[in-house]
Symmetry: C2
Subunit: 224 residues, 2 copies
């Protein structure tokens, strides 16, 4: 069973209480666990649905809140959000990683903190929430997780400082660009990264996720 502490947090922090707890359980059931426990369903079909739920929720949000962007910009921004590793960070923020049911082998191989698995669970959870309470509940949940980062410009395709920096530096031939996480506070969460160009420290950046921190570091380097 999904932990009492998790359900309490879900209710108190996000205002979510499932009517059908089977759906909630299923959203966290990996196929490796379902294979080992007769009668359990894995989350893959919820993930199939959740994928489309997130796509529409985010499209709708962008359409309504970014009236000045054209179709191309909206599409790029949507794919930045949907294809990003970001979903795994939102999953961690809500504490999903502790609730996943895994088979023994997968558990031993460290699947619990694998980004792709956390992304899948994030999609499955939103699929389950959609079935249980409809689109408006999903929108409310995303308002507390994904949308603030959109509004902070984390997915803004028109401001990709990392790519810009890379292109500038590489005009004069191959150059080694590295971003290293130097501090990480998962509870808030805050990440600090430093940017190294040919192994020399050039700038640091902080942000709510690694990507945002890296963008900030690249933006600072560009200003120099």
């Amino acid at each position: 069973m999904v932990s009492v502490a998790f359900k309490k947090n879900l209710k108190e922090k996000y205002g979510i209480e499932f009517n059908n707890e089977d759906l909630l359980e299923r959203a966290f059931t990996h196929s490796s666990y379902a294979n080992e426990h007769h009668g359990k369903h894995n989350y893959e079909k919820l993930e199939f649905l959740g994928d489309a739920v997130l796509e529409l929720a985010i499209s709708d949000y962008l359409y309504r809140n970014y009236p000045k962007l054209n179709e191309g910009q909206l599409t790029r921004m949507r794919s930045n959000i949907v294809r990003t590793e970001g979903f795994s960070e939102f999953a961690k923020e809500v504490g999903f990683q502790n609730e996943i049911y895994l088979g023994n082998g997968e558990e031993k191989s460290g699947a619990r903190n694998r980004k792709t698995l956390l992304e899948d669970v994030f999609e499955a959870f939103n699929g389950a929430l959609f079935l249980d309470q409809g689109m408006s509940a999903v929108q409310r949940f995303l308002k507390q997780t994904v949308y603030p980062l959109i509004d902070e410009g984390d997915f803004d395709a028109s401001r990709d400082y990392k790519t810009e920096l890379q292109e500038k530096l590489q005009i004069n031939g191959a150059i080694d660009i590295k971003y290293e996480v130097i501090a990480e506070d998962e509870s808030v969460p805050t990440f600090t990264v430093q940017l190294l160009v040919n192994n020399q420290k050039v700038a640091t950046g902080t942000g709510r996720n690694k990507k945002a921190a890296e963008q900030q570091a690249a933006a600072k380097a560009l200003k120099k």
Copy 2:
């Protein structure tokens, strides 16, 4: 303005009456027309939204109505539906092609009946309907257009007779397989195709669209 006859048909046949007629107009306004008429908005942003609306509506339908399919089968079926040229045929069925606002150049080049344009307009229309009346209105519309074909098995990935036939015939080397439309009634609509293998007639098939007719012809040929 979108024609009175079209709006009447939309209301009587599909039960749709727009609250915000600007949205309906916009769904049919191609960029070439908007460029020539100051102040007009094209449908591209509605298409961005409609794409996600259709993806979720269809995912939701498949999830609820095909409980025996696994995630892989659902995903293949969804992409067969969403990526198919079928949307252009649904667009024609509802009479969209007569309502599109096109610029002069595009009109002359025959854009009005171009499949990709009709697909785009179908997405834009569903985006507009979603904004105007929400997801349930979209679901009702699709119930009268797209879903019946899903239930007829037109998009069923597990029964791809054309591919099956091709694979069988080509075991013994290159073979020329052709499908030709031999009769077409756009009003119903019904298509009849004949299947030629090395220029010899092998079977005919009929269906609500070309793809379905071809599948039927291939299925008959496989039985022989």
